[in-house]
């Protein structure tokens, strides 16, 4: 048999040219079957759009709640007998703590001036005589709404209350904790949805490739008869799966971003009503790349599963 091997083709070059073949043939195959290609791509794109859209929504909620005005603060009312300098020193010491973002001193004079702007308050102040307000330290804890920052606001408040300068502690954080809990659940929901719809993509691609295999059974048989290896037979289908995943992913990005464009105007109007300069953010570059990468991988894997099933069936038939 050694006499029959006379090709001088180098294995590397032949490998490259075989990949080129599979690459172009698989693309051509998609092009030549536009209807089934578009249907498959649309199914993949829609399946991927939902988790991507939810992700954007969540990301926007996050930035919205990261807005400075919305971050919870703890107000420390300083005892009346403490001087401004002492309060200032305490503020500086507190801001060194690792779970505190910053501390701002609101002097009683500033507080008063602020109050006087509110209609009717001036009269009350006049009746009281003198400035009834204490110095206030406004503490911003270090925390993010996403994930667990490890900051326990309750215990932080308790610790702050223990300082001798502090009279009372007031925090208005219940809503933040609720929102955090909700966002936490939402994050999980996005994960679960992404997982399930990723599975859907896998099944869609797997089934499409299975049909392709079915349609090209004759071609597969003939190429096998004239000496194609399993790898050679499998390759164009794997590329096919890769294209489905990649193009489906790209299409989902288009869907998500056009829906986003559709929503920007009303969201901005809402933000304006609240006097915010909030702007809607889309998917970042890295998330875009991750989506394309994952969808390509899902497509490839779906095709691989379909091919494995075909080869196993084939094998069983030969064995029997």
């Amino acid at each position: 048999m050694s006499k029959t091997k006379k090709q001088a083709t180098s294995p590397i070059r032949s490998g490259v040219s075989q990949h080129k073949q599979a690459f172009t043939h698989s693309l051509m195959h998609l092009w030549q079957n536009p209807i089934s290609t578009w249907i498959t791509l649309a199914a993949i794109a829609i399946a991927l759009s939902l988790p991507a859209g939810l992700y954007i929504l969540l990301g926007n909620l996050k930035t919205l709640t990261d807005d400075n005005r919305e971050v919870p603060t703890i107000s420390l009312y300083i005892k009346q007998n403490i001087t401004e300098q002492q309060a200032q020193d305490r503020a500086e010491l507190l801001s060194e703590l690792k779970d505190i973002e910053n501390v701002k001193l609101v002097r009683r004079e500033d507080g008063l001036r602020h109050m006087q702007q509110i209609a009717g308050v001036q009269d009350i102040i006049d009746t009281v005589g003198g400035n009834p307000l204490p110095h206030v330290l406004v503490v911003t804890p270090k925390m993010s709404l996403f994930g667990d920052s490890g900051v326990d606001l309750e215990s932080l408040a308790l610790r702050l209350k223990n300082y001798s300068e502090v009279d009372t502690v007031q925090m208005d954080i219940e809503w933040v904790q609720r929102l955090r809990a909700i966002l936490h659940i939402a994050e999980r929901v996005v994960l679960v949805v992404a997982f399930l719809l990723g599975l859907t993509v896998l099944l869609v691609v797997g089934n499409t490739i299975r049909l392709n295999i079915e349609n090209r059974r004759e071609e597969i048989e003939v190429t096998r008869l004239v000496g194609a290896t399993t790898a050679y037979i499998r390759r164009p289908f794997l590329y096919g799966g890769l294209w489905y995943g990649l193009f489906g992913g790209a299409m989902s990005l288009v869907i998500v971003h056009s829906s986003l464009l559709f929503m920007i105007a009303p969201v901005n109007r809402l933000a304006e009503l609240y006097g915010s300069h909030y702007s809607v953010s889309g998917l970042g570059v890295s998330v875009t790349l991750i989506i394309l990468f994952c969808s390509s991988l899902l497509g490839l894997f779906g095709a691989w599963l379909a091919m494995a099933q075909h080869l196993r069936k084939k094998h069983l038939m030969q064995e029997s």
Binding site: M1, L225, V226, T229
Partner: protein, 216 residues
């Protein structure tokens, strides 16, 4: 050299297609395989082409038992032989050129080399003008010849043909046989299954007659 040692083939249906066949074909020999329909001609060729495996006995090529070949070696082996199928097995959605080029594409040959080889093969079967056509545009005889071109394009040292003249008129049939004879003169070992008795006898080559196995 092709050698069959006590080869039997029983299909899963229980049909015994071959029973205790012993056969030896020398390197560069050309021979004909005859027998009534159902005698097992196609089965025997399939065993040599490793498209199926014997239930008993061995098929040796150059002294090597081909049942020992591993999966990817099987593909390699198939590429080293040329097979012409009874129902030519052309791909309907590819041009004649692409059909003939298939074994070379599988080997990953350079496009320029592929073109040269395909043209040479098409020239041998006199169908150069049809390279851009599709199989369904060809007559039965032309399809058969394309099948031959595809089988020889890889310059195999063994050519197996199953009824290559089955659909052809007598004039074309003997043309095809001349083509095989030319390949044989270039050194290929050739085994042709056919029941066209007069044609075979005219060729003056060795004739191997198979007899149908009685019963089951």
């Amino acid at each position: 050299m092709i050698e069959l040692q006590d080869v039997s083939k029983k299909y899963p249906t229980g049909q015994i297609a071959l029973y205790n066949v012993n056969l030896r074909l020398q390197q560069g020999e050309m021979a004909f395989l005859t027998g009534h329909s159902g005698a097992g001609k196609s089965t025997l060729l399939k065993l040599i082409a490793l498209l199926d495996r014997p239930t008993q006995g061995k098929v040796l090529i150059d002294g090597f038992d081909i049942s020992q070949l591993k999966q990817n070696q099987v593909a390699n082996y198939r590429r080293s032989i040329g097979v012409i199928f009874q129902d030519h097995h052309l791909l309907s959605d590819r041009t004649i050129f692409d059909n003939v080029a298939l074994p070379l594409m599988i080997s990953g040959m350079r496009p320029a080399d592929i073109e040269r080889r395909v043209h040479a093969a098409l020239d041998k079967v006199n169908l150069m003008s049809k390279e851009k056509d599709y199989p369904m545009m060809l007559s039965a005889g032309e399809k058969q010849r394309i099948g031959i071109a595809r089988a020889v394009v890889n310059k195999p040292s063994i050519i197996l043909a199953d009824e290559p003249t089955g659909n052809l008129d007598p004039g074309l049939a003997s043309d095809i046989m001349q083509t095989f004879q030319q390949f044989n003169e270039l050194g290929a070992t050739i085994l042709i299954a056919s029941h066209d008795q007069p044609l075979i006898e005219r060729m003056g080559k060795r004739i191997i007659a198979l007899q149908k196995v009685k019963g089951r």
